[in-house]
Symmetry: C2
Subunit: 411 residues, 2 copies
């Protein structure tokens, strides 16, 4: 019966055909597009072209002839509509960590009387590491990282907070912050905001311009399917283009890079955010992957992953073997990203056994099973089959002993 | 006659066969491998494998199954013998500019009583921009950039110099510093050294360990042929592994990145130099390109590009049309990298016209024609043909008027 429901949902899915645009192995169900998006087939043609016809044929001339020199900005312009940004505010270079370093340092310069970076204890760790590194460099007198629980964020927006740095969607449990509310709260207290959109760009509707967000970063290789280690994107709101300076200067951020002046003069707008030469092969893959988003509204993507995850939850309910899976993600689909996380004492072993059965999900220490619902890639039939496989795995002999012991504890 | 000499030199060249390993367009002569090395054919197979068999088949599992997680270090280990480094001291990530930022900040922390970064006025500009950015961030009280002429470097090594940052080979004129002598001089005055090997790694014999160099960076896409924007490498001498900390922290530099702790604990050795996720497609291309160096001694490469450039100079002498080309590179081949630079009032127009004639070289503002001799790629017959084409270009009608006017001035 559940499979009939899956077939019905698939038949109503406007995005169903999109999965044909990916190279997906036949024998697996991929519930980890939130870690690494799968390969869009069109990327193969693009890389073939970049390698053979550009690097292999026009060599150094490709920087102009094939637009490599503008590729970071071109990619940024393709990402802009996905995150609710008008043109000229997004550029693609380096990693999220490095871009956050640049932004955090800039925010402290923009707010010279304030020394505090406010974030969340359960923010994605690398974001916190970046702040810690900057704190070590500048000294705690000049830069203090304060980490609080999510519920304490607004209360913690003291007059010393220069910038509120948060991930939109939590990597562990998928809980989504309300960017609009938190941005307004920060601005009311005189602080800037940096939003990390790694787990929301491409799956949640975003309106960065409308919300007045100051800065944002995001990931090229998760829901944007740009390939392993694809460069990160950065959003710099127009309102900061004339007062913004970032400290990791390099020739690609120079106003006239080919003059080879010995003094740095920053380029205008987002261009000064660049540092060194970007990795063109990786950047071209992301550029091509973004072509899949051209005719899609992110609201469609959100609708689909909400349906996928709700169907997953329905199916879980139908299997008593899965009673021990505890949902730790928000139950309200509007309050989460495109993932569900479940705690289970045997989460690690279950994740491995599920993988043996052909379903790729993710384990997050210490006890979370993380299931991603990349809406361009997945169909409902796969979700049905994945839960069947999960029930089989969890109900199997391997886990019988631990199930028994948990029930003993309960009684 | 000169072509007979070229044939003779080609027949004596042990490296002649190596050019077959590159995808070189038939109709051009490429004298710009010092800007972007050409495409090693084997990179096509590697990228095909990374795209289809790894990303496209094993998806997220490729990080372990196909060693992506260790690729930055693997690439570093392949570069180590090329720069005279024992294992465990080289890693490949980010751009040169970003790596210099990390190193400069680290050097200032290693020498807390010293505030000065000493460099050369004519250093590659991006290296100077990085220092200027750090100076802006830390304030001039904590970080001062001093730029002097090459001849003043040793004299300028005052007690306030924390680090001497230099390019081994000058990008304009190809002049090579003596790393051994300058490193010793810096150490005698209590300063650290950072060498930028962008224009020497792969063409000049290097002995970083033997010379006691503290830190170095270098480029993946010039003589190492790693592809456009290939990640940079960084060398951190073993002696600094226990006291070194770099400030741009990220999860890839954490001791236990997959524990997702909220506090940063640096990895041991060079691993802590990593920041974010590296661009795997670009990194894999470089990894594969380095396989061309496995059976080659860098001394062979130096011998060949010295012969190539000397043959170029001989040929230039034989053409009176080229009398106005003024060599600005050191005349002694032992004192330069794998390039020759010539000044000429019409350098820009000549470079463009030479390109029309099928020879790709480089123009450097305001008046330099820069000719690179990538020793794996070029043969002597090409050098002969390139000079013939240059003589034809410079002797042509287009340049007749300016030649005439220059001669008027002389008389």
């Amino acid at each position: 019966m559940s499979f009939e429901r899956a077939a019905e949902l698939d038949s109503q899915d406007d995005l169903f055909g999109k999965r044909e645009l990916f190279r997906l192995p036949k024998d697996i169900i991929y519930l980890n597009g939130n870690s690494l998006g799968p390969l869009p087939t069109i990327v193969l043609q693009r890389l073939d072209m970049v390698l053979n016809d550009q690097w292999g044929q026009d060599l150094i001339g490709s920087w102009n002839k094939h637009g490599w020199i503008d590729l970071s900005k071109e990619v940024g312009e393709k990402i802009a509509p996905i995150i609710g940004a008008a043109a000229g505010q997004v550029i693609c270079c380096d990693s999220i960590s490095i871009n956050l370093f640049k932004l955090l340092a800039s925010c402290l310069q923009l707010k010279p009387d304030r020394k505090c970076i406010l974030s969340q204890k359960d923010n994605f760790p690398t974001d916190l590491y970046v702040a810690q590194g900057l704190q070590n460099l500048l000294g705690t007198v000049n830069c203090e990282l304060k980490m609080v629980n999510a519920s304490q964020l607004i209360h913690a927006l003291s007059e010393n907070v220069a910038v509120l740095m948060l991930s939109h969607v939590n990597f562990r449990d998928g809980a989504a912050h309300d960017i609009d509310i938190l941005t307004k709260a920060a601005h009311e207290r005189g602080a800037l905001v940096i939003w990390d959109l790694a787990h929301s760009a491409g799956v949640l509707p975003l309106s960065l311009d409308e919300w007045g967000v100051d800065f944002a970063v995001g990931c090229g290789y998760k829901y944007l399917n740009g390939g392993p280690g694809a460069p990160s994107f950065v959003y710099i709101n127009n309102k900061h283009h004339n007062n913004f300076t970032q400290p990791v200067n390099g020739w690609m951020g120079h106003l006239t890079p080919f003059n080879f002046d010995k003094n740095f003069v920053p380029a205008k707008g987002v261009d000064q955010f660049m540092t060194g030469t970007p990795p063109i092969l990786s950047l071209a893959a992301l550029d091509e992957a973004l072509s899949l988003f051209i005719d899609i509204d992110v609201a469609q993507l959100q609708k689909k992953h909400m349906l996928l995850s709700e169907y997953f939850l329905d199916m879980v309910k139908q299997h008593s073997e899965l009673n021990d899976l505890q949902l730790v993600s928000p139950r309200n689909a509007n309050k989460r990203g495109a993932q569900l996380s479940f705690s289970h004492p045997e989460a690690y072993a279950i994740c491995r056994a599920w993988e043996e059965a052909g379903v790729i999900a993710d384990f997050r220490s210490p006890n979370l099973l993380r299931v991603g619902f990349s809406p361009l890639v997945l169909c409902f039939a796969e979700i049905g089959a994945a839960v069947e496989a999960l029930a089989e795995v969890v109900g199997s002999e391997i886990f019988a002993e631990s199930r028994f012991q948990r029930r003993l504890k309960v009684t």
